[in-house]
């Protein structure tokens, strides 16, 4: 069993206006097999949390800790975090000209495993996963995310999730921009990976519709850089009806 433990995490970014604190004391524990949904208003710091877990250089951790099975995640480089079992499905997946999906995936798999995957099983796994996410085989020879539609980019993230087999995955608005069919396909993908590998999931979303397919064990309300409330799946329904007013009204402004 794996545990990702975040304790009193404070994170800031450098902007032209100086240092801006974004995360103000996040506490969160995600174990294998658990699904945690994070919901919160725009700009509350959800992506900042996701990027900080993955180690994006733009974010500065001022205090607090992130550990994965006791190992200090904050001391790891970006690729070491991936090797330790962390995965981030990005809100805006990046285009990489001239690097094909097939080359990219094989390079990543090889880097994570420390050896090239056996060719035959790799080709089969890739094909199976692409088919499951309803991505045409032709995508493997296209450049990473280049010219992909918004939904295709998101499905490509889940193909990676399935092939790279992390222990804990952060999905940053993977449901945004998906049509109903794609939402189902992506959700099935996440559930399948969870069932097969006991993946722990931190699912950032604005909508409860994905939670109809991926049932959260916990729902966290994220407001102004910290978790303002947590509960079960029913909390998501309430947020959808009531919005975030009750958390933001009268909240201290820095």
């Amino acid at each position: 069993m794996t545990s990702l433990i975040i304790r009193d995490l404070h994170v800031s970014i450098e902007t032209d206006q100086g240092t801006t604190p974004i995360l103000r004391g996040v506490d969160l524990t995600i174990n294998s097999g658990e699904i945690h949904a994070i919901m919160g208003p725009n700009g509350s710091g959800k992506s900042t949390l996701a990027y900080t877990i993955a180690g994006h250089p733009r974010y500065t951790v001022d205090s607090g800790s992130i550990t994965l099975d006791g190992e200090d995640v904050l001391a790891m480089s970006v690729d070491e975090r991936a090797k330790a079992g962390l995965f981030l499905a990005m809100q805006y997946p990046v285009e990489i000209p001239g690097v094909t999906v097939s080359n990219f995936l094989r390079t990543a798999k090889t880097a994570l495993d420390g050896q090239a995957p056996p060719l035959r099983s790799w080709v089969k796994d890739l094909k199976t996963s692409m088919e499951a996410l309803r991505m045409d085989a032709g995508f493997t020879e296209r450049n990473v995310n280049e010219g992909f539609s918004g939904g295709e980019k998101k499905r490509h993230e889940i193909v990676q999730l399935e092939l790279l087999k992390p222990k804990i995955a952060v999905l940053d608005e993977t449901d945004s921009g998906l049509d109903v069919d794609a939402l189902k396909i992506v959700s099935e993908g996440v559930n399948r990976v969870k069932d097969n590998t006991d993946l722990g999931v931190l699912l950032i979303t604005h909508y409860t519709r994905i939670l109809r397919y991926i049932t959260p064990d916990f729902v966290h309300v994220f407001v102004e850089g910290r978790i303002a409330e947590q509960g079960g799946a029913e909390l998501a329904e309430r947020l959808e009806n009531e919005g975030y007013d009750r958390y933001t009204a009268g909240a201290p402004v820095h």
Binding site: A54, G55, H56, P57, R58, S77, V78, D79, R81, A82, K83, F87, L88, M90, P93, V94, E95, I96, P97, G98, V99, N103, F104, T107, A108, A111, L112, N143, V144, Q160, L164
Partner: protein
Amino acid sequence: MTSAIDTDRVVPGATEHAHGPGSPVPVQSRAERFASAVHADFPEVTGRELEWRLTPVASVRDLLDDALDGSALPVEVTDAPGVTSEWIARDDPRVGSAGLAEERAAANAWSSFEKAHAVTLTSETPVEVTIRRASPDAAPRAAHTVITARPNSRGLVIIDNSGPARLSENVEIVVESGAQLTVVSLQEWDDDAVHLSSQFARVDRDASLKHVVVSLGGSLVRVNPSTRLAGEGAAGELLGLYFADAGQHLEQQVFVHHIAPRTVSRVNYKGALNGAKARTVWVGDVLIGRDATGTDSYEQNRNLVLSDGARADSIPNLEIETGDIAGAGHASATGRFDDEQLFYLRSRGVPEPEARRLVVHGFLVEVVQKIGNAALQERLLAAIEAELAQIEVI
């Protein structure tokens, strides 16, 4: 490819064209640049001239001013059906059929060569020819080459340069009506080599030329391809790929002259720079002449700067003398690594040096893929890999 594009020295318009050698008077058109086959017609180079101001002229004084060895540069030419390779006299009508020297080093070469190397393609089924050239030593030399594709012929000619060199040369390329020719000038010289190459192409009616400059090895390599789209419906695709390491100067001044109606040009040069004093220069002049109605042209240059202390100049110029064109545009960008691309790759477990190599490889591969010859593409990819193997430490 970079998210924050920092456009370095973009000088649009026709504001910097000098009239004839040494003249400070700006003129309207790139077409009016002085041309001659005679060395003495060009005054001494000060380094301030438009065509020399970005080149380290002190390193090419001998090629500009001194007597050059004009004896035949040793070549090895592969056999192909319908292809002739011969040494022709200076007064052969093929010499000068595509253009004349426009600067002093090229004129010095023109005045100095004893015989020109002529390669002529006649086959309508595509052929492939490699001209392997290697100087025996680094003595200053002159060379002259004429590549002619006869009407409706098809072929690929690779000028494969390696070994030591101090060479000033002119390469003429004539693509006669209906022919489809690809010429690749591949510079994989020794580290201390110096090479100045003026390449003139004339593309006739309904003919097309794909011209590729690949500069990887040499201390100072300047290849200036100039293409005249002379016949109606002529097309030119001008590609370039360069990778400058510490101390290398790689330069290309590209000129496309749309003379005839309905001509099409695409210019796409990409370069990477890595190391202290790695230096690249790209100048792209496109001139759409008065009669070149219905033409379509686009030029772009992109540079990826991989380390501190490297400098890329990128200067597109577009002159249009007719109102009736199908399209004309240019783009130029010089930037650093895109941090988001690196982050994306690293977040999938790819270590940083490998992520950098992948990104550079991807950046350059676009041009390689357009060459359209599998064996050559393989070879260039391997050469790029070899360059990339050296960027581990950045």
